[in-house]
């Protein structure tokens, strides 16, 4: 226990508590729904989580720096549409190039947001509320209200959502889900160990101090937005692959889903704390609630009310658990600290 308390912080345990809540939810729903524990349920949830997660990773980085990116839905929509249109026009485009196109476009859009926030010193909520509308407007003008249809897309793309990464028993891990998990792992490691990435935390934790000790605060904020845009671009590509039919309305409103995932996942909306892993758990939690609620034999019209309640419960119980843990930790901390005068052994 002592060892645990020295090496694990309550903030890390919060992710564990969210994991517990997820398990609890799965058990409860499993007892209420016939045939719940199937690979199909897993796949439903996994594939609906995959895209949101990728965007949520980027959003987490932005939120860590005490900003918010509300333009992600529009960026996903734009990249999905634009990449789809390119693929429809040039069937021979290699997959890698398609992915790069999507990411480059997302990156550019994120860079515009980032430049306005970091160098133009415009609050992020204002910038991204604006670009949310502007990017969507550009898309509508560009598209002329056409839809990118599945049959205009190359076959490899249409088959992509069904591509398996590995199969364990009868559990298919789809490539897209694996990609999302891979990104989470990558960024989780990056944000825990890379000094450059730790600056996101420092910056959000105390921007004034960051400025005073000479951190390149503008670059930090800028790069968070660029990463968020790039990941949204990648998500746009995944969106295109998964849904095939891309209207100009694609991914409208996704920003709220993503923010919900990030908040439920325990990322502090005022910056400085939270992890991309947590954000993924948040996305999973919400997806489980949504999907499972749907399968319960309850009226279509009851779903949102219950969903709202459950999200609130998830956030509340998470906070309660975390507070308990913090209390336990801080209580023992007193004993752990050796005060000056009682010998300096650490």
């Amino acid at each position: 226990m002592r060892w645990l308390q020295r090496h694990i912080r309550p903030e890390q345990i919060r992710e564990f508590s969210l994991l517990l809540l997820i398990v609890a939810a799965v058990l409860i729903f499993g007892s209420m729904i016939d045939g719940y524990y199937t690979s199909r349920t897993f796949n439903r949830i996994a594939s609906s989580v995959a895209i949101i997660t990728v965007v949520a990773v980027g959003q987490t980085l932005v939120v860590l720096t005490r900003n918010i990116d509300l333009a992600v839905g529009s960026i996903v929509g734009c990249t999905a549409y634009f990449t789809g249109a390119q693929l429809a026009a040039h069937h021979g485009l290699p997959p890698v190039v398609a992915v790069l196109i999507a990411m480059a476009l997302g990156c550019a859009m994120g860079a515009i947001n980032g430049a306005l926030v970091a160098y133009g010193r415009v609050p992020s909520i204002i910038v991204t509320l604006g670009s949310l509308a502007i990017y969507r407007g550009i898309l509508i003008d560009y598209s002329g209200a056409r839809t990118v249809t599945t049959d205009s897309l190359p076959k490899w793309l249409i088959d992509l959502p069904r591509l398996n990464f590995i199969t364990i028993g009868d559990l298919d891990i789809r490539a897209m889900f694996a990609l999302a998990v891979g990104i989470v792992v990558l960024f989780q490691i990056g944000t825990s160990f890379l000094n450059v990435a730790r600056r996101f935390y420092a910056m959000g934790s105390n921007p004034d101090a960051a400025e005073l000790i000479g951190m390149p605060t503008r670059q930090i904020v800028f790069s968070a937005f660029v990463l968020s845009g790039t990941l949204s671009g990648l998500a746009g590509f995944m969106f295109l692959a998964r849904f095939g039919n891309i209207t100009v309305e694609a991914a409208r409103g996704m920003e709220l889903q993503v923010v919900a995932a990030v908040v439920v996942g325990g990322v502090n909306i005022f910056g400085g704390s939270g992890t991309v892993f947590g954000a993924m758990l948040g996305a999973i939690m919400i997806a489980i609630l949504e999907q499972s609620l749907f399968r319960l034999q309850i009226s279509e019209f009851w779903r949102d009310a219950i969903l709202g309640l459950l999200i609130l419960m998830a956030v509340a119980s998470d906070a309660v658990i975390l507070n308990r843990l913090r209390a336990i930790w801080s209580r023992t901390e007193l004993k752990l600290v050796t005060r000056p005068g009682t010998g300096a052994a650490p």
């Binding site: 049959d151 069904r162 309305e249 409208r252 279509e300």
Partner: protein, 326 residues
Amino acid sequence: ARAEATVAPGASVDMVLLPKFLGILPFDQAHQGAEEAAKELKNGKKLQYLGPTPENSVAGQIEIVTNAATQGVGAIMISNNSGDQIVPAAKAAKAKGAKVVTWDSQIPSAEGEDVFVAQVDFSETGKVMADMALHILGADGGKFAILSASPDAANQNAWIAAMKDALKDPKYSKLELQGIVYGNDQSETSYNQALAMVDKFPGMKLIMAPTSVGIVAAAKAMQDEKLCDKIKISGLGVPSEMLAYTKNGCAPEFALWSFVDLGYLSYYTAYGLATGAFKAEAGTSFKAGRMGTYTITKDPTRKAGLRVLMGPFSLYNKDNVEAAAK
């Protein structure tokens, strides 16, 4: 029947074409049709194609109608997404002398509306959908569910009601409606809902989606999950978007009407009313250019209100979808 009114070209009337919202294909096709009619009728004023964004549809439609009235336009053509909530604005527009023609989706109470240009007979829609279901599922019938747009779409609700009505006919006794689900006319939501329906409704053999967004999303979902053998898709769809699924058997049969024609006819109707060529009264006939002669009748699907019935449905299957998709 009275004499057929002729619509004289060359007048200058400000006209507004107002879709539910901007950015999806069928409405743009209607716009095309209306432009075609405008050219034929040599209207001196340019047709305004104005619409709200989807998330602001209701408030946006009301705002556009109100502003159009302020500007004193001659006619407003609305694909109404606001139910009866548009009524005060429409009435105000009429009071300022504008003609209010609805198309695609009507004002349920018919208040504030001169005439509704109905794409098809709404009670017919129910029968057409039931027929397609029976045709696809075969004589033994089976279970099916509906993937609708939003719970607030007046035309969708009317069609679903009509279909429920039609199902009472013993002819369709083998068809069992398991439930209605809403995809909010969003591809992603519809796609996810379609997948979820598979789990929610055990034994479901068909998804009936009377929405052009929902039907493609559902077809793609079934194809992605390799479920096309077990679960078929039908409903109302745009041929060019449905081509692949009809050919590979996921969506063997679906129906629609021509939105280009609908826009064209709506324009003729509104222009005729605004120029005083004819009045919005039951029994009036008029000639609508290349589409021929239409008559204004009482709308049998509503308590009050007049309509011009365009009809009929076009049914699409693997034999004719390719030609229609061109």
